[in-house]
Symmetry: none
């Protein structure tokens, strides 16, 4: 039998709070998705003004980061024609997302969930996702 | 041009709060989804212990209730063999959900969004969805 | 509560009229899709001779332009291997379309819908989409 | 943070062994799927002669039983026209399976995974699924 540690609802709220604060700071309303370590949705928030397409993309970024235990921008880097990773962006009906903005959430070296941001540029999405993790790690201690 | 009124993030939080309180009261951890009047997700919460299958079902109930402006249990009632409504439960790839637990959210006689609950029995899901609406209507006034 | 402005059926007819006139002028029968600001279809016309594949592609272009508030050719420009946006073209099961020919429709600086054209070259599709918007903005005033 | 217990690969082999022995005993080659408590596949075996359609159905039965924490035949019982549960069989694109043959696997009162059998009659599928659980619970002690 395996014993797994995963985000609970309270953890998810901290992640969302940190990401939202950064999104407000840079003035970009975001879609924010938090999933557990298996990629199942725990919490979601579309800030007023977040894009409709981002409802799904934020969830897919979080899913990919948690379930593959890899940041989506790391997949992006290798997902170039000629690389053997190329094509992974169409896997799972396109649900495996290689656009920057999805980060695994780790505690004590173990992936316990994922966070996905969408509505800004990939750089903005990544910065807000990281802000969510920073806030979570700082506050839960 | 049409002018539309729809739930914002603050409204969504009130709806979730009311539904969660009822879910805690009856001791059934739920998945709670709030969508706008077009059926796009605004907020989602999986209470600790909510079912994985309910992540999607709660969203589909909310989507159906808002986008069709009809409670899912009202579709259910008519979705019986021999009725001309029968078969609607397979529409949109099964996303149109006729299981009880999805309610449209109306303000001033206009549908402004939807709420979907899943993880309990349909009766429990419906009671929590209604509790969300009651709390929202009472608190926003 | 949010207040949203979106295209109505009359607006949609103007958009289609402008796009059709341009399509007839260049001699390319087109599929023309108009969606509201949430990406839901408001009107669609397949001119006699329009391509069958374009029935879906025109809708996806209009959906993408409205729901992401960005022209599909702008996504196309950034969706190149090595860019952090790469991979967005497979999002939403491929429904997020980065082929040129989808434009958001804005009034008073706000996106109120989208128009998507398909059956010609991307340049032809874009020109007809723009013609639809020009006709709409000029006529409604 | 939540702590979760789930089936590991060794547990999955025990479940499959018990199910296969019963399938051989009754002379029906089966598809056997084992998933963890989130519904993700851990192990799968198509006995020589197992049906091709059952490759997916066995997985969907196991997924449903684990992720909804309910035997598929229990859903079946309530999924009748006129019941508020009716329509659940088309949820998740039909992946939520209400055909008999999927059972949750519980240890110490907690669902740790699911087993799904397909290729025989529902009664045969259910008997083999139960045989898998019996063997697992007896052997792991």
């Amino acid at each position: 039998m395996l014993t797994i540690t995963r985000l609970d609802q309270q953890d998810a709220r901290l992640l969302i709070d940190g990401a939202r604060q950064k999104a407000e700071e840079i003035g970009v309303p975001m879609c924010i998705a938090i999933v557990d370590e298996s990629g199942s949705l725990v919490a979601f928030e579309r800030m007023d003004g977040g894009k409709i397409t981002s409802v799904t993309i934020a969830q897919d970024k979080a899913f990919t980061a948690a379930a593959a235990r890899k940041a989506t921008h790391e997949y992006n880097e290798k997902c170039v024609p000629g690389s053997l990773v190329f094509g992974i962006h169409t896997a799972l009906g396109g649900r495996l997302c290689v656009v920057g903005g999805g980060l695994p959430v780790s505690v004590d070296g173990e992936v316990v969930g994922g966070i996905g941001l969408s509505s800004g540029t990939p750089d903005q999405d990544m910065a807000c996702a990281q802000a969510g993790i920073d806030h979570f790690l700082k506050t839960r201690a």
